[in-house]
Symmetry: D2
Subunit: 304 residues, 4 copies
């Protein structure tokens, strides 16, 4: 398919779409971003690359990193992982304490904040230098060996991270956090602070469009079965309280972040990343959702 042409056509169709949304405002670092930024990058299994707009500009990947930490933990723990975190959609806003208390400290899935904190706790438990090892893991996947955590962002998040502190303390109380709270939180805030371009991020996720094999480096990241399971979790839990909406309209497994990025996967075909900082009420990129909806309609590439 001539993806370049299609990306352009979809962009033209976007012209009338006025819902800019607002960049995340809870930390100053995210608020500063130019809301008119827009980038998209698609990479195929065969390493064909197609980009548009600000696709080579770095943005904060935020919650998208939760997929990467899950993948790393899944490498280390196999199916035992699921004793400490579920695979069900949460049905409540992404940071709610209610469900967590009801479920006795077992988060519904690894993409709500509570679940991502448990995954961090597992990594802290199994790795010698979690921050270094995670960074190396992402560097290799992305093909950019100079990726860094962004201290401005992580410090900024930490300074207002009371809700996450509430979550982790509650889980510690309920027995589902095994390490020192501050260590886990520090790791968590660093993960979310990584900055990448659309191009880098699309490449990073390509192995999930390729049954767990990085088609560029030929490295096996996850078994085929595990890669499918990660995609399944993205499908059901990747968009806070809008996973149904995304499945319904876009029809691909994916994950969003409050930095305005969305990654989506068409199994056996491609990985696509779109970035636009304005968020809708549910916290997902407003233009990004729309672009992917039009794009998958145009290419008829829903998994359904």
């Amino acid at each position: 398919m001539d993806y370049q042409k299609i990306l352009e056509n979809v962009l033209i169709k976007m012209t009338g779409f006025q819902e800019l949304g607002n960049p995340a405002s809870y930390i100053p670092e995210l608020r500063k971003v130019d809301p008119f930024k827009f980038g998209v990058h698609l990479i195929t299994k065969k390493n064909k690359n197609f980009g548009l707009g600000d696709s080579e500009e770095k943005f904060s990947i935020q919650s998208i990193s939760k997929v990467l930490s899950l993948v790393m933990a899944y490498q280390l723990q196999d199916e035992d992982l699921w004793k400490r975190v579920g695979v069900e959609p949460s049905g409540t806003p992404f940071n709610s304490l209610i469900q967590l208390e009801y479920d006795q400290g077992i988060p519904r899935n690894p993409f709500i904040n509570a679940g991502a904190l448990v995954i961090c706790d597992i990594l802290v438990e199994h790795l010698k230098n979690p921050k270094d090892e995670f960074l190396n893991f992402v560097r290799k996947l992305s093909g950019n060996s100079e990726l860094e955590y962004c201290a401005r962002i992580s410090e900024s998040e930490k300074s207002v991270g009371y809700r996450n502190a509430a979550l982790i303390n509650l889980m510690k109380d309920l027995g589902n956090i095994h390490n020192d709270i501050d260590t886990v939180l520090d790791f968590y805030f660093n993960l979310c602070s990584i900055e990448m371009t659309c191009r880098e991020l699309a490449r990073t996720f390509l192995f999930l469009a390729s049954y767990g094999l990085n088609p560029i480096t030929k490295e096996k990241i996850l078994s085929s079965s595990k890669a499918k399971r990660v995609n399944a979790i993205m499908q059901l839990c990747g968009f806070y309280d809008e996973a149904g909406e995304f499945s319904f309209k876009v029809g691909l497994p994916g994950k969003s972040g409050v930095g305005g990025g969305i990654v989506a996967i068409l199994p056996n075909q491609y990985s696509i990343v779109v970035w636009s900082p304005g968020l809708n009420k549910k916290g997902n990129s407003s233009k990004g959702m729309k672009f992917l909806e039009l794009f998958t309609s145009e290419t008829e590439s829903s998994i359904f």
Copy 2:
């Protein structure tokens, strides 16, 4: 693929699987079923049929009918439908009143009881003889013009249907039920009472494996886009509080019923129905889930 052979191989692998579960017991009619019954039927887009076990024996399809009523309402209402019912997973047990009250009478999706009641209310609003027209619709899809509602089952359910009466009264109070409560409940209990064989049910759902077109009669049931959306909703909401588990392990859109039936769809390929009356704790067929897990592993037919 030689599906007959594969079905048999999977059955052999099931030998050691001891979790029989228990048939639904809340109404006498369901409790009576022999828990050792087991049937499976697969039908391909090209109308190739493969069956095993009790695949030609009728069972109560129960909640699986909620997909069919949704399809009929979607034919009548287009996207306006979604003003009265959502497309998000519920995150709480399937009959909970809590979420409904929190969301002001708008059910999370059309497959929880509350949502199915709203769909019934819409059909009662738009159809002259809802019960007749629905039955005709299912007869045509199934290829069996003699299907009937089962009065024993529907009366039995009605006699203990206090929870559904609570749901519909609450929604009436909140303004999301427009017709007479007893009429809607009567329709609802009838829908769920239809009895079909695995073979009939697999054929009934075949159009969802074929982008909305019934490949046998060539009738267009839904547009391609709508058919994909129904599949997406099944993926996210088709298994009560176990949708994640089913996506994770089976990887296909599907729907279960407390009669022990499960239907699953591999888009562009086949529709498969498995029936085994014993239910797990979440209310889904215990053996049915396992069979489909092994079957999709064997055939590598996950959508992910």
Copy 3:
């Protein structure tokens, strides 16, 4: 004390109090009431009577009747009563289904709608002609043998009573309603429909200011211990989600109704009823609450 003088003084102090509130509007019959009506009547243990304003005009006592049905059930059942309904404040709006589902069908207390429905179910179980016997009970207490249920009001409530139907169906499902739902609902809507004057209502409740003995007829309605317990329940649960506010500001056990009536008790001294149809956001008479606050400050008659 010269209560007549004090009532007048307090009324003068009320001059500047502008929060009229709005009469209950969910049924036409209540909406029609003149919002400027205001009456108050105090009766002492020694049968001294003091009234002001529209104190001899009838109004719909609504939920205040829940105390009377509780008293009747308490006469019949002793402490076994509390197996089916609690004595704890509800902490959520008065008609919420959430707490009820959480507590498996046992209402928190007899004054939330769910609890009052259980009390009605108990009376239906124990009495031959519940409606007649209840009416006779209230007639005797009030000293007015011509009191009647108001069919206009009860029919009007029944026609929009979906929320109560939801509650009773849920409890039936959970096993805490033993009789036919329609019979219990009919009884319930009748209880709430009684109309009384401030004077009649104050006299009706006088036995609770007199340790269970009707000081006028010398009839023992409840043992001293039970009468105190009813007062305790009123103190903790008598004002929907504003019991704390009422205790805090007024300091007497009492009960309100959406008809705008409030009854309050100073043990061993008096029973007072104030009526003003305008309700605050929590559903309690706005002027009534304020009047009682000023009255108990003036007379220093808090139980605390």
Copy 4:
């Protein structure tokens, strides 16, 4: 009244009461207490003292201190206090996060942990040396100038205080904590660690039985109106999820602590403290509740 005689009689009646309960076990320091300890002390407005059993032995007053911190904050803030904490019973277990999230960070009342933390935050805001000033306040009230915080207890609580850390972080996120979290928590854990005898504690609370005036020192602690309001809050919120039960059976305003102490007030008459470390399922002293129930029956001293 010959209170000494009555205390003894009630103790005799207790003989058959077998429900010892279990001392609080979440921190080692509380678990160590001898469960057979039992003490009671009553002090009248006229400074007559009556004691029995281990009434001169120190125990950890725990949550009872929340009344004292409330009183101190009420001295400083008047009715503005209630903008940051409510006066309604909570209707859920004492440490639940659910209600707090639902109510946007405003705790239901000052006696649930969240509310007590807000009160501590207010004291930290207004006082130069909150810990010293609070201690002096309690020393003066108790008549024992050598009272101390117990470092063993407060350190022990802090080491497992994840739930309280979750609460305060959530409220910080929601804007209802103004000071440094660690400072407020440290103050909070110290308050709860004070150890007193039944005799000292009864004297400490005597001003609440005397309309705000300490009848021994003649010092005005609170205005009469404020003292009544504190009693009203104790009545509605003083016993976790058992306030209704306590009102119902004992009929006095009071407050319990997980150390096994209970203080209760008969306005204008006396303050009584009973101590027995075994707790019932709701976290209140099992024997203490029973003793007070029998005592108020015997003396007919319910406020109702």
